[in-house]
Subunit: 199 residues, 2 copies
């Protein structure tokens, strides 16, 4: 399959998930969002499940490219930006997409292929946070009494919970973002770089 | 419907959800877990959806009774116990049940009746935490610089995230509980009651 076709089908899958959710999604709904026929889709992907596994892989690659390398910026800024980005809706249909993604997450316990892909996402976010926190400690901008591993896991849990609560009971993502920023400022980052400039 | 019949059907629904999950659950599966026929179930509940809404209401009442009144115990102990209880598997099939409950949560954005019931749960946990935190401040065992409302919401988010991560990627609930306890001890509770016994 050409790269253009892959891109097109992944875009169509995204739009179809936003429109129909996961549970009632049919291959025809995805075909309707693309220039391809349902038969053409089935030529590339045996089932809706196969296509969605490929879609999760595609999302992962995009996400990995998006977050770029862990270097450059000041680790304090990088930490706040990375965490806030996870709780900031981007583009059209982000709420609908998060909703469909939650349906896929809810299938993960029954579905090894989904679970593996979601575990990769979880691990990538965890690794990135741990690495930023470690650099933050090395640069004296993150409290050196925290354990990067524990705090990274705590943040991953928290991001998951804020997203879940937003989707299921409509809790504000903005307020959640604000609370998490307060946590970072008061509990993770050192009060001010000036105080620790000699570290 | 007699109270005994309600109890029986709610128990049957719990067991059927643990066995089959939510998506593929049929009224027959619930009947199979009870002494009633599928026709008898349909006499009381028009659809699987109606039965599950009643089930969520039943869970809520049970939960409300379980957590009892907010009084008596030392607020510091009460806070830690309440939070840890949310992340402690209880009884058989708890993991399976959490999995089915996540499927229902994932349907909440599409389903007002589910969303209303889940919002009640969320609100109950939030209210209880806020009230414990306020009593903790009044008793000098909770840091009086925290905002009970913000910290309660932060804890609700965190509990949601730890449960979600446990179900979807199999992250350890025990480790999550330990991390959250550390957060409570280091950031929410005052270092020791002795230091603040004059408050």
């Amino acid at each position: 399959m050409s790269e253009d076709t892959t891109e097109e089908l992944m875009g169509a899958t995204y739009r179809a998930l936003c429109k129909h959710g996961y549970a009632s999604l049919r291959m025809q709904d995805i075909a309707d969002e693309s220039t391809k026929s349902k038969a053409a889709l089935h030529y590339h992907y045996e089932s809706k499940h196969d296509l969605l596994v490929a879609f999760l892989e595609h999302l992962y690659e995009q996400f990995e490219a998006d977050i770029g390398a862990d270097c450059g910026d000041d680790p304090a800024t990088q930490l706040v930006t990375f965490v806030e980005d996870r709780l900031t809706p981007r583009g059209d249909g982000q709420k609908e997409f998060q909703t469909a993604l939650l349906e896929i997450k809810a299938q993960a316990p029954y579905d090894e292929a989904y679970r593996e892909r979601l575990t990769e996402f979880d691990q990538l976010i965890f690794d990135r946070l741990r690495s930023i926190l470690q650099r933050g400690i090395d640069h004296g901008v993150v409290d050196d009494e925290i354990e990067p591993e524990d705090t990274a896991a705590f943040l991953v849990e928290h991001i998951n919970g804020a997203q879940l609560r937003n989707v299921t009971v409509g809790a504000s993502l903005e307020t959640a973002r604000h609370r998490l920023r307060t946590y970072l400022t008061e509990q993770v980052l050192v009060a001010s770089e000036m105080e620790h400039s000699d570290e």
